[in-house]
C-alpha cells in the first residue's frame, strides 16, 4: 500500500512539474515580456533595466527555478487587469467553479441512478430506448451548443430561467445541466451495463425466488454491486467536469476560474493564465490521485499490484 501511495504521489508531482514547465515556456514564447511593461518610447537602457529587474537576462533554467520558487509560495505576480495578486484573483473565483461542477455531478448521478437500473431491468422497453438515444446524443452534442439551446428555450422563449450570471438556484440550473449532460450519458451507459451483469448473478435470482419485491431486488441488492464502477467513473469525471466548466462558464457568464482564464488569455494577462492553469491542474491531479488511492483501498488486487 505504501508503495502504491509513493508511486502515485510521485507521478502526480511529476505531472505538476510538467504543467509548470509548459505554463512557464508558454508565457515566454508568447512574446517579449518587457514590451508589455514599458511605454512604446522607452530607450534601450530602459529595456536592459527592466530585463535585469525581472530576471529576464538570466539563463532560462534559472528563470524557471525563480518562477517555481515563487509559485510554491503562491506568488504568480500581479494581474495587470485586476490589480490584484494573480493567485488571489483565481482563488476568489474557485467557489463558483466548484459549485457548478458539484451541481453538474449531482445531476449526472441522479439521472444515471434512475435511468440506468430501470433500463437494465427491462432491456428493450421504452425507457431503455429513450436512455440509449439520450446516451448516444449526449456523446455527439458539444456542451456549449446544449447550453445555447437551453438558453434559447428556457430563457428566451419560456422566460423561466435567467440566461447568465450567478445568483440563486435558478441561475445554476442551465449551466449545471449543460455541463453534466455528457457525464450523465456516460454514467447511464455504464450503470446500465453494470446492472445487467449484476442482475444475471445467482444471488439476484435467489432474492427473486424468495419473493423479494422487484423494487428492492434492483435498488437494494443490485445497485450496491453495480454502483462501484459508476463511482469510479464519477471520480474520473469530477476532474473532467472541472475542466469542462471552462466553456460552460464562458457561455453563461458564470464568474468562475475557467472563464477568468479564457478572458485572461485574450487580455494577455499572463500572470492570471499561469495561476489559473496551475490551480486547475492541482485540483485535477489531486482528484485523480484521490481516485487512484481510494481504488487501492477498495480493491486489494490493485493495492498489491507491482
Amino acid at each position: 500500500m505504501y508503495q502504491l501511495i509513493l508511486r502515485r504521489t510521485g507521478r502526480s508531482l511529476l505531472a505538476i512539474i510538467g504543467v509548470s514547465i509548459v505554463a512557464f515556456i508558454a508565457v515566454r514564447m508568447s512574446g517579449d515580456m518587457e514590451r508589455f511593461l514599458l511605454p512604446p518610447d522607452a530607450g534601450a537602457e530602459d529595456f536592459a533595466r527592466v530585463r535585469h529587474e525581472y530576471g529576464l537576462d538570466q539563463p532560462l533554467y534559472l528563470q524557471y527555478l525563480f518562477f517555481i520558487a515563487k509559485a510554491v509560495t503562491g506568488d504568480f505576480g500581479t494581474s495587470w487587469r485586476w490589480h490584484d495578486p494573480a493567485w488571489t484573483v483565481v482563488v476568489d473565483r474557485l467557489p463558483a467553479t466548484l459549485q457548478l461542477a458539484a451541481a453538474a455531478a449531482l445531476i449526472a448521478f441522479l439521472i444515471a441512478i434512475t435511468v440506468g437500473p430501470l433500463s437494465a431491468a427491462r432491456p428493450g422497453s421504452w425507457i431503455d430506448r429513450i436512455g440509449r438515444v439520450f446516451a448516444i446524443l449526449g456523446q455527439s452534442m458539444p456542451a456549449f451548443w446544449v447550453g445555447l439551446m437551453l438558453i434559447r428555450i428556457f430563457a428566451v422563449d419560456l422566460r423561466w430561467l435567467p440566461s447568465y450570471g450567478r445568483g440563486d438556484l435558478s441561475n445554476l440550473v442551465m449551466p449545471a445541466i449543460s455541463l453534466g449532460w455528457y457525464a450523465a450519458a456516460a454514467q447511464t451507459r455504464l450503470m446500465r451495463s453494470a446492472m445487467l451483469n449484476v442482475l444475471d448473478s445467482e444471488y439476484i435470482k435467489l432474492a427473486r425466488l424468495k419473493g423479494v419485491p422487484e423494487f428492492y431486488v434492483i435498488y437494494k441488492h443490485g445497485l450496491r454491486n453495480a454502483a462501484l464502477p459508476v463511482l469510479t467513473l464519477m471520480g474520473v469525471q469530477w476532474a473532467a467536469l472541472l475542466s469542462g466548466s471552462v466553456v460552460i462558464e464562458t457561455i453563461f457568464a458564470w464568474p468562475g476560474v475557467g472563464r477568468t482564464i479564457v478572458e485572461a488569455i485574450f487580455n494577455r494577462d499572463y500572470a492570471v493564465v499561469q495561476a489559473g492553469t496551475f490551480m486547475m491542474s492541482l485540483i485535477f491531479v489531486g482528484a485523480n490521485l484521490t481516485v487512484d488511492l481510494l481504488y487501492g483501498v477498495l480493491d486489494p488486487r490493485i493495492r498489491n499490484a507491482r
Binding site: I25, S140, L148, I251, M280, S281
Partner: protein, 296 residues
C-alpha cells in the same frame, strides 16, 4: 436467430447469410450523412450560388426560407453581416474534416509508433514513453490547449498541433497493450529466431495484427476531435475569421440567440449530425471487428 435453421453442411449458405446480415446492419443513415459532409467539403464552391466572402448588410439576419420573412435566396438564412449560412456551413465542413483527418492521422501515427516501440522493446524506452503518457493524461486537455493556443497564437495550425499533442497518448496506450499480447505469440518468436530485424517484426508482423483496434479507436476519436476543434473555435482560439468553422459560427450566433436562432442552431446541428454518424459508425465497426470490446 435465423442461422440456427441453416444446415451446417452448407457452409457457403452460412457465409452468405452472415454477409447479408452484416450488410443490412450497416449504419446506412450514418454513411449517407458522412458522404454529404465530405461532398460539401470537397465541392463547396459548386453547391451554392453565393460567394464565401460576399455579404449584404441590407439582408442581415434573414431567417430561413420556411420562416416568415425568409427568402429562397438564403435557404438557411443569413447571419448578422448578411452572409449566407448555408454557404458558410459548406465551407465550415472543410475545417472540421481537415482538422479531423490531419490531427487523427498525425496523432495516430506518432502514438502507434511510440506504443509499438514501448510495448516491443520494454525497458527504458517503455518507462520513458509511458511516463510521458501518464503525466500528460493527468493534465486537463482543455487547459493544455488554452496554454498552447495562448503561446503559439490561435489558428488552424495551432489547433492541429494542440489536438495531436493531446490525442497521441490514447494510441500509444492502446498500441502498447496490444503489442504486449501479440508479442507473446509463436509467430513473433519464430521471426526472432529466424533473425528477422526488429523493425521488420514490428511493422510487418505485429502492426498488421493490431491495426484493427487502432483504426476503430481512430474512428471513435474522430468525432471527439471534431467536437474539440469546435470548442476551440468557439472560444476564439481556433481558425480565425473570416474563414468559417462550425464552432466559430456558433460563437457568432451566441449574441443573437434571442433574435436570430438560426445562426447558432444550424452549425450546432451540423456538428451533432456529423459526430453522431461517426460515433454510430465506430460502434458498428467495434461490434463487427472487435467483439472483445463490444458494448452490452
Amino acid at each position: 436467430m435465423s442461422d440456427a435453421r441453416v444446415p451446417i453442411a452448407d457452409a457457403s449458405a452460412v457465409r452468405r447469410s452472415y454477409r447479408l446480415r452484416a450488410f443490412f446492419r450497416l449504419p446506412l443513415p450514418s454513411l449517407v450523412i458522412l458522404s454529404v459532409v465530405v461532398i460539401a467539403a470537397l465541392f463547396a464552391p459548386y453547391l451554392t450560388p453565393h460567394d464565401l466572402d460576399s455579404f449584404d448588410l441590407s439582408a442581415s439576419m434573414t431567417p430561413p426560407f420556411w420562416v416568415e420573412g425568409g427568402s429562397s435566396e438564403h435557404i438557411l438564412g443569413t447571419d448578422n453581416l448578411g452572409r449566407d449560412i448555408f454557404t458558410r456551413l459548406l465551407y465550415g465542413a472543410r475545417v472540421s474534416l481537415l482538422v479531423g483527418f490531419l490531427a487523427v492521422g498525425i496523432a495516430g501515427t506518432v502514438g502507434t509508433i511510440l506504443g509499438l516501440v514501448a510495448g516491443y522493446f520494454g525497458g527504458l524506452a517503455d518507462s520513458i514513453i509511458m511516463s510521458i503518457v501518464d503525466i500528460q493524461m493527468s493534465v486537463p486537455a482543455i487547459l493544455l490547449a488554452l496554454i498552447l493556443a495562448a503561446a503559439i497564437g490561435p489558428g488552424l495550425g495551432t489547433v492541429i498541433i494542440v489536438i495531436t499533442i493531446i490525442y497521441w497518448t490514447f494510441y500509444a496506450r492502446l498500441a502498447r497493450s496490444e503489442v504486449l499480447s501479440v508479442r507473446a505469440r509463436d509467430f513473433v518468436a519464430l521471426a526472432q529466431v529466424a533473425g528477422c530485424p526488429s523493425r521488420r517484426i514490428l511493422f510487418k508482423h505485429i502492426l498488421p495484427n493490431i491495426l484493427n483496434s487502432i483504426i476503430i479507436l481512430a474512428t471513435v476519436e474522430f468525432g471527439a476531435v471534431i467536437i474539440f476543434e469546435a470548442t476551440l473555435s468557439f472560444l476564439g482560439l481556433g481558425v480565425q475569421p473570416p474563414t468559417p468553422a462550425w464552432g466559430s459560427m456558433l460563437a457568432d450566433g451566441r449574441t443573437y440567440i434571442a433574435t436570430a436562432w438560426w445562426i447558432s442552431v444550424f452549425p450546432g446541428a451540423a456538428i451533432m449530425l456529423t459526430v453522431l454518424s461517426i460515433n454510430l459508425l465506430g460502434d458498428w465497426m467495434r461490434d463487427r471487428w472487435d467483439p472483445k470490446r463490444r458494448q452490452v
